[in-house]
């Protein structure tokens, strides 16, 4: 289904505002029909990338290619790229219909053709009944739909979405995420979606690009980014994670031996960092297994144990903070299941912690 020819290529892009270098020698290529999310904290340059593609900003260096042709110097009104803005940016003095028709009017299309296409677009975003309203008479979610219709009616090669859901409440946001995903599949247009919400990024995209300070930290499927973070920044930014710093002591048959917070452990890993090198062992809270220990019970040799400090009921899961003897705190998140519907830990309970071999991520620290 997916074509592999890149629809947009950014090569060696550098962009600064005054003294601030926002993007430094950035390269990015996005395939036709992909749903790509740019994820990162505010100020990481993700919105700048969008504005460069849209043509609102000019790169200091580098070229931008759209479907193979250089558009670096093309003004935004000539690019086959459209934007959905965070603030919706609807024309307040026009009706919903006129807003959606605006772009087609610019293309000098015939009146009847415009009418047909606008109505199609409004039907697609379920806003047909509101064609005669002014934007001020619509709710945030409805305005967002109009903004999307106004952009897709132009049939762009790429649709740029700049944190379009951030102003909506939780439930509506979830609903719009699903609708946007479906819309993208139906239209087959490349979507470039900017967000700082990692959950949104993971649930919607074919590919997530994690950015920090103008540099791409990792680019991969949501699963790759979550399960095999390329570095500590990605690991920490995408979801909760426990980071345990340690030193490789010696190689073993299946991995290497090391001391984690004072406990001797063997890590089963294909990675074999050199003996003596510093590594971080990363564990997602949901990958930790917590077992209660009876008062006098001695923990098994080689396992890690600690004490429950805090538990938080999260509906579907129970989150516990466990303090290790070294003072290090770990976050564990466990699902309630049928057998243990009532499970909860007493504060101060001694527990042993383990995980399935191979589920940890080993990062070698430079």
């Amino acid at each position: 289904m997916k074509q592999n020819s890149p629809v947009i290529e950014l090569t060696n892009i550098t962009k600064s505002f005054g003294e601030n270098t926002i993007l430094k020698n950035l390269n990015l290529s996005i395939s036709d029909g992909e749903f790509v999310t740019l994820l990162g904290p505010s100020g990481c340059g993700k919105t700048t990338i969008l504005r460069l593609i849209a043509g609102f900003e000019q790169p200091d260096e580098g070229r931008i290619l759209l479907a193979g042709s250089d558009i670096t110097d093309q003004p935004s009104n000539k690019r086959h790229v459209n934007t959905v803005f965070q603030s919706y940016a609807l024309f307040p003095h026009m009706t919903v219909f006129e807003n959606v028709a605006f772009g087609l009017n610019m293309d000098k299309m015939s009146k009847s053709e415009i009418k047909a296409q606008v109505n199609d677009a409004l039907r697609m975003v379920k806003m047909s009944d509101y064609a005669d309203r002014k934007p001020s008479q619509l709710s945030g979610g409805q305005q967002q739909r109009v903004a999307i219709a106004r952009a897709v009616v132009k049939k762009p090669r790429i649709l740029l979405l700049d944190e379009p859901l951030s102003a909506l409440d939780f439930k509506l946001r979830k609903q719009m995420q699903v609708e946007l995903k479906q819309l993208q599949r139906r239209l087959g247009i490349t979507f470039i979606f900017v967000t700082h919400d990692q959950e949104e990024a993971l649930s919607m995209s074919d590919r997530v690009i994690v950015m920090e300070e103008g540099v791409i930290q990792q680019s991969g499927t949501p699963k790759q980014v979550y399960e095999q973070p390329a570095n500590l920044f990605v690991a920490r930014f995408v979801g909760e994670i426990n980071v345990l710093d340690t030193v490789v002591e010696k190689h073993t048959d299946n991995g290497f031996a090391c001391k984690i917070e004072g406990f001797s452990c063997e890590i089963h890993s294909k990675k074999r960092p050199a003996e003596g090198s510093k590594v971080s062992i990363l564990l997602r809270p949901e990958d930790l297994r917590v077992e209660e220990l009876a008062k006098a019970e001695k923990p098994e040799a080689g396992s890690i144990f600690g004490r429950v400090e805090e538990t938080t009921y999260k509906g579907a899961t129970l989150e516990s903070i466990i303090v290790l003897p070294s003072g290090k705190k770990l976050l564990a998140s466990e699902f309630f299941d049928e057998e243990y519907e009532e499970f909860d830990y007493k504060l101060g309970q001694d527990v042993a912690i383990s995980w399935v071999d191979g589920w940890e991520v080993v990062l070698v620290n430079e």
Binding site: G55, S76, N77, N82, A89, H93, M106, A151
Partner: protein, 255 residues
């Protein structure tokens, strides 16, 4: 008690502001020629005013200049405001500051400097010099009114228009102008009023061949206030009232 003083205070302020105006309007209907006391209701002064051709000519001149100067200032001022808002260029801040300098500078300075200008390039004082001067002092007010409206815009709206394929001309015509229309109209009304009641600048820059209303009244009252002037002022007052209400209405529309 506290409330009583508050309302009394308000009442005093408003009485102070409006008593002269009220007396003027009452006197325009007073049959006493010397305004020494109420001698009965009359509309004589209004009919006398209607037959005072010199006064009426001056009034027509005033309205002509006010209309033309307000229209020209609105076009120039709106374009200036859009330029200042839309584009960044060297000296932009200085330009904006200069707009305020004209607003702040006393009329007398404005009047004399314009007079010196016209004298030095040897233009005969009259309609054209008056018109140019009025346009000059009105432009900054339009710029400020329109600019403040523009800076309240979401900049993304203009970017959205561009994104959807509009060139600069279309952005101006289809987005910026309709959205700033209330401020443009308010700017026009403001300029119109400023021109209509300007005495000082007009005094310096008009010639004997083109007399405007405020100057005509000014020269008439040198020989004592005639009741027909009360009548004229009452009419102008009514006119200003309508203007103020219209501009208030337009400004409220912005929300």
């Amino acid at each position: 008690m506290n409330r009583f003083f508050k309302s009394m205070y308000m009442l005093m302020v408003y009485l102070f502001l409006y008593i002269p105006v009220i007396i003027l309007v009452i006197n325009s209907f007073n049959s006493s020629k010397y305004m020494t006391g109420w001698k009965g209701f009359t509309l004589d002064w209004y009919s006398k005013l209607a037959s005072n051709t010199m006064l009426l000519d001056a009034a027509i001149n005033s309205f002509t200049v006010a209309f033309l100067s307000a229209s020209a200032a609105t076009v120039l001022g709106t374009l200036t405001a859009v330029t200042l808002y839309r584009y960044s260029f060297f000296g932009k801040k200085l330009l904006y500051a200069l707009v305020y300098v004209v607003i702040m500078s006393p009329d007398i300075v404005m009047g004399i400097s314009l007079l010196v200008l016209f004298a030095s390039i040897k233009i005969e004082l009259g309609f054209w010099t008056l018109l140019v001067s009025h346009i000059t002092f009105s432009i900054p007010f339009v710029v400020v009114t329109v600019y403040s409206r523009l800076s309240g815009f979401d900049k993304n709206v203009i970017e959205a228009a561009k994104d959807l394929g509009a060139d600069e001309m279309r952005i101006f015509k289809s987005v910026i102008l309709p959205m700033s229309l209330p401020a443009v109209a308010a700017g026009w009304l403001l300029s119109f009023t400023l021109s209509l009641d300007d005495v000082i600048v007009s005094f310096f820059v008009t010639g004997p061949g083109y007399e405007v209303l405020p100057l005509r009244i000014f020269s008439m009252v040198r020989l004592g206030v005639k009741p027909e002037i009360n009548a004229l002022c009452a009419i102008i007052l009514l006119f200003s009232l309508v203007m103020v209400m219209t501009s208030q209405f337009l400004m409220r529309e912005r929300k």
